[in-house]
Subunit: 204 residues, 4 copies
DNA sequence: CATGAATGAGTTTTCATTCAT
DNA sequence: TATGAATGAAAACTCATTCAT
């Protein structure tokens, strides 16, 4: 390895894995604050302060507040999609597939609690661009497919897949809220109990 | 019954049942807009305009924006409590009790869709006064009691009652979201399917 | 004294001496509040409330806020003029005349502390109509005349009469402030000491 | 002295002595307007306009209107204190000390007429913070001490020092008012006549 | 590129005044 | 005549965004 390649490899490692650029700092700060205080309730200078950058700097990376929240939404959805969609194994019994997805969701909630809370927030529709909504639809599509397949195999109860998907998603959010409101962390016990319980909603 | 008494009884019915005062108009407009655009995203003059009153008039009825949203929250919670808590029959098998509550919730969502959507919104905690939170706790307490009793009778699954309550509530909100996002009305079929499905989460 | 004259004298006593009409109540309330909180700092509905009348009632008696403060100013100046100007004895030695005026001023301050404080306030010029200013000038004219005569008799020091008048008036206001800021009432001792001291400013 | 050092010394003189920052411009505009129209009677946008800044800019320098008026009050009191307190010579005959103070007061009134008028205004108590009042007390304390010492030396008349101080201060304000109302400038003659006259109030 | 002081449009709130009762 | 609820213009204050440095 010569000097040249070393320099290169360092650059490659640095950037994608743990890119502590200003852009990331801004997104992190925005996530933090939007979850804590709502999109409309958060002032841009506050985002700048928490990100440790000047107020004007935000506008070098994002055209305006709406562009910022869209970028943030997409980053969060992409995080989630990366964990769930791409790792769902094919061809397993539905119960196994469900377990996989449920674990993925709960891992996400535990490892990225703010991203998770942000995605649950209402009223994204007020500012989301079509492209951002597309991110959401990819995940919904996956859920829809899994349920449809489960029903085809006779392993899941009959009914409109989108409805079952919303019931499950709702219960998942309920689980997170339960932990949050009690000020408790999401324990393995809670996750397992909830998984078992929620599966009953889906089971044929 | 003579003319006199008829007139009187009309007057009596009219006033308390459907008193269209400005206060009510303001609360209705606020409900409308807060659901549509968020609390922080709604400007007071817009509330005034939709209520058909002058901007200053709001402040004759509510000390400030926060007092308005608190009053609104309490009105909505009281509406819900009136429908659910006070009509839950005692001593029935848990499945019946659950049916009763589920019907009450869905009737509320259908008859007062905005109140229902408002109560589901996040971030109430940012402005709610302790007294307003008390309204929420009354309903939670009821759910907790029903589940505890169901478990004691061996008719509901074991587990922390608050967790089960949040799972059920989450699924209920999922049902409403499902209908809302599809632009569909909540049909009896959807309600029944969801009820059946959600009960499985609770069943022993 | 017959019935007729009794009725008359009662009427005469009642009306002018202690006429508790709404107009008077409004003026009293305004005096109260203007002294306490400034003209600009006082809201009309507050005046109404303290006067025990409806907000609209004020406008039956006074065209607007400015007319109210002008009427109040004139009433206070007239009170003062009544006590001072009309009772100054003529032809006495200047020291006696001064004593008379000083007593009159201090009696006014003690019996009508709010009227007294109101007249001392600055910034009357912003709203006073010419007619109201005329009231002020009558008193100044009197002071001017007394000093001019005192100087002519060789009993008062030489110098522009208006200047001496302002020095004396200033010292008088200083006396009132002294009492007010110490939270004390204006005692005879303070008044006498001040009179003696202030006379030295005038003495030839 | 070479070019280099000259440039430097100019820069040094310019910056600290007469730093025309926005903060100063805002304070100056506020002083101007508060004297002209009262604190309550002055709208913030008007202050901004006269200061030549945007309305929002004021709030970068002062938390709110009350903080602005407090800062202004302290600046004026500090100006006055700098001139009076720190330059009062010790150990002189009372008549000399009084002359010194009187000159200081009149110089202040001539060189800073608005600051002088502002400090004389009533109703500062409605918005002044304790810290601001402290500034006022320092000057009062000085007056009190001078009088007490003068009495001890048998050069000033007996009587409560605070009362004599208020009489003198009142007469001083009377002098300023006299000039102001006549639309005249404060002449040396007026100052000297007044000094002579006022001293008589103090003299033993 | 980065900054943060500056801004004015927009927000919440107040208040002199009106007017239906 | 008296009222006080209602109003909208104007006040205090905030904040997304710009731009000189």
């Amino acid at each position: 390895m010569n000097n040249h390649s070393v320099t290169k490899s360092i650059a490659l490692e640095k950037a994608p894995v743990n890119e502590p650029t200003k852009r990331t700092a801004i997104l992190d700060a925005a996530l933090n604050l939007f979850v804590e205080r709502t999109y409309d309730g958060t002032a841009m200078p506050l985002v700048a302060e928490r990100a440790g950058v000047g107020a004007g700097t935000i506008y070098r990376y994002f055209e305006n507040k709406e562009a910022l929240v869209n970028a943030l939404y997409r980053r969060c959805q992409a995080d989630l999609a990366y964990r769930i969609i791409d790792s769902v194994p094919l061809g397993l019994p539905s119960r196994h597939t469900f377990h996989h997805i449920w674990q993925g969701l709960c891992d996400f909630a535990r490892e990225e609690p703010e991203a998770s809370a942000f995605l649950e927030m209402h009223h994204h529709d007020l500012y989301l661009e079509p492209e951002s909504l597309e991110y959401r639809n990819r995940i919904r599509k996956m859920a829809y497919d899994v349920i449809t397949e489960g029903q085809a195999k006779g392993e899941m109860r009959a009914g409109p897949p989108f409805l079952l998907a919303f019931l499950v998603t709702g219960a998942y959010i309920g689980l997170l809220k339960a932990a949050r409101e009690r000020g408790e962390v999401l324990t393995d016990d809670m996750i397992t109990l909830a998984e078992d319980s929620v599966w009953k909603m889906l089971e044929a």
